[in-house]
Amino acid sequence: MFFFTDEKKLLKGFLILTLVSCNQLTTPTGGSQSSNFSNINSLQGKVLTDNPVILADSVNVSLNINLNSFQSGQGVFITSNNFLDLDCSYFSATASDCIQISNDENDFPGQRLTKNEFGHWGYDGNSPEFLQVNAYYHSRLAAERMSEIFEFAWNDSMMAFAQLSPFSSFPNDILPVIPLNFNMFWFYRDNYETLTVYSRCNELQQNAVFRPAPAASSLGPSICLGVDDQYPKFAFAQDPSVFYHELGHAFVHLALNQRNENVFSNIRSSMGSIFYDEAGAINEGIADYFSYLMTGRPFLGEWAMHKIYKSARQLTENLDAYLPNHPIGDLHVSNVTNTSQGRLDYLTYLQYNPNEPTEPIETKHYAGQIISHFLFASTQMLINRCNMTTKVAQNNIIYFVSETLGEIGDLSSTQSDFFNDIYAPVTGRNSPSYANNLAPYLAYEMSTEHHVGNYYRFVQTFARYFNKKIVNQKCLFNISKSDFERLLDDYGLLIFRTYNDDYDKTNAANNSLNGLTSVDINNRIKSTLVTKDFIRLPLPGDIDGKQTAYVFDDQFSIPNILENLAFKGSIVTPSNDLAGVEYNNDNNKISPGEIVAVVLNIVNESNSTMGGVQVLGTPWDHMRKEGTYYKPCSFNDFPLSSQGAASTSNPQYLGSCGKYPGQDYVDTDSNGIFDADLNGNGTIAASEMNFMDKDGNLVGTNGAAAETAGYIDRAQPVCFIEKREENETTWVSQNEYRKDMALSDSDCLGHEDSLNFNPNECLLRLMPGARHAYFSKINAKKTWAETIQTNSNIEPTFNSSNAVLMEVNKWIPPGTTFNCRFRARFTNCDDCYHDTANSNDNFIEHEFLGPTPFKIINFKFTVID
């Protein structure tokens, strides 16, 4: 009592006592056992330093085992904070509360874990409280690693001459003195956001999820680690390698959006759509690699993925070389080895599940193994050939990944601050000078649909940075360009012809200080390139008898797909009262009012496999406005001018066929309204627009001048209609046809979307969230179904990623014939990304909205009642 010598201290003691009484409310009553934690202090707790299979060194460890036996022997530092939240830093910047841990997302938000009744963070290894402490410990390690990666990236991008060709996409200020203007090392939207980790999501069965948008009680992004009700003691949070994989998705999101702090409406890029695509596979491969960065083990999921689901993955062809006594052992089939012939190469292993190698499967996770193996092999190359430590080698590789993602996800379209701020003005270019993803207004659509981050774009961009930094600087004498190209080829990824030093900006290599760096074709042994001409859509009556398309219009699978897509964020809401699954009649035909899934039965006519086959039903520049209506351009003599094709030369009309200029999304008069001429009818506020020519240079802000010059042009929906009249049959736009039918705007599909409504999809509309289809690979002389199905006697089963969804207006007269002009390409295509007629330089951005880099696929059908 002697220390309460005056009133102030008495009051202080009183307050402390009161607060402690209140705080104990959040302290769990169970879960801690004082005898197990006698040797730890008040800042410590015990954790699982790895998953139980690794800690037990046995795959036979039971899913019901008492996890106390695996807790770290000594206490480890947890936190001096009152709650499980931590700060993240990047040089002198700090994101307060960057990560916080909670139990279940359905707990009310104020319920936060504090120290136990003994005043430390030690909890019973089988308790939910322990999962939170464990998640916190591993979150802190991962956050520290991410800071380290971004600091390494900034330092490296600032090295002498590092700014120059190729220009770093890493955000920086002009003068490389101190890091400025980089809030994007963490989730940022006016302020830093908190990533909430829910260590036990009881509603989430057999799953884990990374959510960039706030969900449930989180106010920022979150990770939810699920459970499996069949195994009550099991939780995904017990496996750090899986948790690190989820944090790897968070890293991809950060790297992808590093240039997007100030983009329109705070939109953020994403890597991958809902269902299968290569961008999603790359995202999974990088997340696996991030797990390796954290655990040091080229293997993940020994506990949470292998024990129950037999779905673990490794990152090397030769596990024994790195983990000779691994409790599960090498998952790969014997053909897979770390020789040039045996690498996990693109094409051969796109549908390969090492856990069930005889059953081909199309999932992002397994296709992503090719990227994770390639990144791991590149890391080993740096360790073995450049005398780098493991950590330095990892830092270099993940830095190149970060540069690559920054470029793919760039919604500012400027690609490089240095390029934009110094190089472009000095070389006489206007600023802003768009080099990437066309222009801000369409950058999101470009990077997710038209010029998507597939294996071609990812590997070519990664290789550009590797070549610059490793081959030409850091490992000048020990790794040659050919060495690296041969490694790429071992993985079947030497599918580009130049390093695209000048980006996708111009027809000539005038943006590069060193010209275009070409790939040595002698290094291309395993990688195959195929021309797009070998893509074919069978037509009725073709000699091989293959059907043109599979049409699904039942009332079971279509609602399922719609629900799944809408739940995960795709736009597939039907137009009110004009179409709906209630009209679906399950006759495998396209009928008025239906919502149908269409799988185009693409045939690979070549003698080589095609990988990453993509069928785009997105709007593109295939029509030209003449007078009141758009008319279809003629490609490959269809349609003929006598059949209604647009004129190709008349300058009095707007736009062009296949030349698509960029457009900015601007508010030059600062009235708070962003202006756009979204359907390209030329009725715009002239003072509001920036127009770019095909080289990305600003034409000016004068809309009228741009219009006169023929620059105004807009992508148009893919389907148009056959119009039969007494003496002639012509192909016309849907708008023209519906005007003949006297249908008003409100009778048109999509009329409720005032941003994107286009009467040229009044009668038949590709649903915006499902208008492109993906096939992981199609073998030589086969269709996708023939490729993936081991039994050719049964009817094919398709993934929803193979289909596009069409909405059919109920007012369409039966008998109406449509032609939908899809565009197709694939990843190992020799004329879909680089222009053989132009030194193999990549096509410039606007070309990806036109016909040139694609095979045009005409899907013609008649609507049947």
Partner: protein, 168 residues
């Protein structure tokens, strides 16, 4: 001696207050107050979100009292329409649209207003799905989405299947 008596008194009061505090927390259904008291430092982004959005439109899974429910502003028309549209394809789901900001875009010389929202969908057997969207203020149509979730589906065999049964 007097000092010791005072001390004992003060400690007793502190313990009683502590218990009252405990009772208050347990019995009071206004969990928002729990949050404010337990988590003393409010995250910055909460302040940001709250400053942009009328408080009653931040829809969280918190349980509310009957009085609060009555006092709550009704959903706006565009919210109702947008939620109703999603409910036609996502059955048995609790769908919320949390407004973030208003975006105006001029098209063909006419200004259009859009709501930037966070869509949150809870279905039995799933965790909450969430993403950002632009919603047409007039019609409730979703016109753009981003920040979509990434699910692992550890036991999955790929996407939803379309089984061909042969042409009818």
């Amino acid at each position: 001696m007097k000092k010791y008596i005072n001390l004992i008194l003060i400690f007793s009061i502190a313990i009683v207050l502590g218990k009252i505090c405990f009772q208050f927390f347990i019995s009071n259904p206004r969990h928002e107050q729990n949050e404010k008291l337990v988590k003393i430092e409010t995250p910055k982004n909460f302040r940001s979100l709250a400053s942009n959005v009328p408080a009653l439109e931040i829809q969280t899974p918190l349980k509310k009292t009957e009085e609060e429910m009555k006092a709550e502003k009704p959903l706006r028309k565009w919210q109702k329409k947008a939620i109703a549209k999603l409910q036609t394809i996502i059955k048995n789901a609790d769908i919320k649209m949390v407004p973030e900001k208003v975006v105006k875009i001029n098209k063909d010389g006419k200004p259009y207003t859009f709501q930037q929202v966070i869509v949150q969908i809870q279905k039995p057997g799933y965790s909450t799905s969430s993403y950002r969207a632009l919603v047409d203020s007039k019609t409730g149509a979703i016109v753009k989405t981003w920040d979509r979730p990434i699910y692992e589906d550890f036991n999955g065999q790929g996407d939803t299947k379309l089984v061909w049964k042969g042409s009818n």
